[in-house]
Symmetry: C2
Subunit: 208 residues, 2 copies
């Protein structure tokens, strides 16, 4: 029988090693060598996946995007899918998914910050990062437009400007939560985001 | 007569060279060698000021803080000092001073972003950066408490939470303005900040 290599399984195995290395050492120190030590693979085998340090960062960014999508689409605690909830609930779910609230989302936020920093001087990385940002911005704008049509958006609010402000606020909270976690712990990030959402959707319950 | 060296003048001369290099090449590529070429100083003379690359970043951060303070304290277009204005005007002035709206404030924002990224793995840089952040946060909180006493803060608003949200929003806007200036141009940053300030200080004129 021919020897079959399950590429998807190998990729998943590697992904977990990359994630553990970033979580333990920080993305700045996540080298091909560290991933080799963590995964038990040879540096040579890893070169196939990561010819450069940027390729490793790119791989980590793809993982962060996958984990983000997984968390954003997860069923609620009663097994109900997000799209059966109200616009305010869905917006709250999506934006809290961007915050560094637990171990996994902290790694995601750290990878994102390293990525945007590097992307400023690297057009290829920048194009890849923009794609994800634009998808999130469009999704959010659709929800706010739905809310405006339903009459649950604050009177006189412009969905485009509300969406941009919400994303800037969320990224600012994530930045503070990442840089000064002692001054901006997870509960405070969520509280400040909810303060804002209650003004965007006056009198609406964010929890259903 | 003994040979006197005007250290302050030399420092200013050097500061201008550092600023031009960051503006032209980005902070990532602002090396001691590039500053030497720009200033006409020898690399050896520069080692006195910048023994390491981090010392160069530290110097640039001090410059950014000086320029920020200068802009924040500048008289208005009628020659009136900021402290004779209303709390809403002063808050608007301070926060727009943090945004990358022109060449100088773009360099400041870029240096700040490089600094906070590096500070995550460097306790000395982190302590220096925290100091500035804390001063701004305290100043803002004082203005919001004044506004609450005057009865011009939105009814029921908590000055502490409003201050933290405003700073997160401002840093998020600055981040977007820096990373994706085509999607977040200066006018839009200011507009979104003003949208927010009009909700913090309902019915107040931000321009006087």
């Amino acid at each position: 029988m021919p020897k079959l290599v399950d590429h998807e399984a190998r990729r998943r195995e590697l992904a977990q090693a990359v994630w553990r290395v970033v979580q333990r050492d920080g993305v700045e120190r996540a080298s091909v060598r560290a991933v080799a030590a963590e995964s038990g693979w040879s540096a040579g085998a890893l070169r196939h996946y990561f010819p450069t340090q940027d390729a490793l960062l790119h791989f980590a960014m793809d993982l962060a995007a996958e984990k983000f999508t997984e968390r954003a689409r997860a069923l609620d605690e009663h097994g109900v899918p997000p799209q059966e909830h109200s616009a305010p609930w869905r917006v709250r779910r999506l934006l809290t998914t961007l915050l560094p609230l637990d171990a996994d989302s902290k790694v995601s936020a750290e990878v994102w910050m390293a990525f945007v920093t590097r992307a400023r001087v690297d057009p290829v990385l920048r194009a890849a990062g923009r794609k994800g940002d634009e998808l999130i911005a469009e999704w959010l704008l659709d929800r706010l437009r739905d809310a405006a049509e339903e009459g649950i958006l604050r009177t006189g609010a412009d969905p485009v400007r509300e969406a941009l402000r919400l994303l800037a606020l969320t990224d600012g909270l994530a930045l503070h939560g990442l840089i000064t976690p002692e001054a901006m712990p997870p509960e405070l990030m969520v509280q400040l985001l909810e303060d804002h959402l209650r003004e965007v959707f006056p009198g609406r319950d964010l929890s259903t």
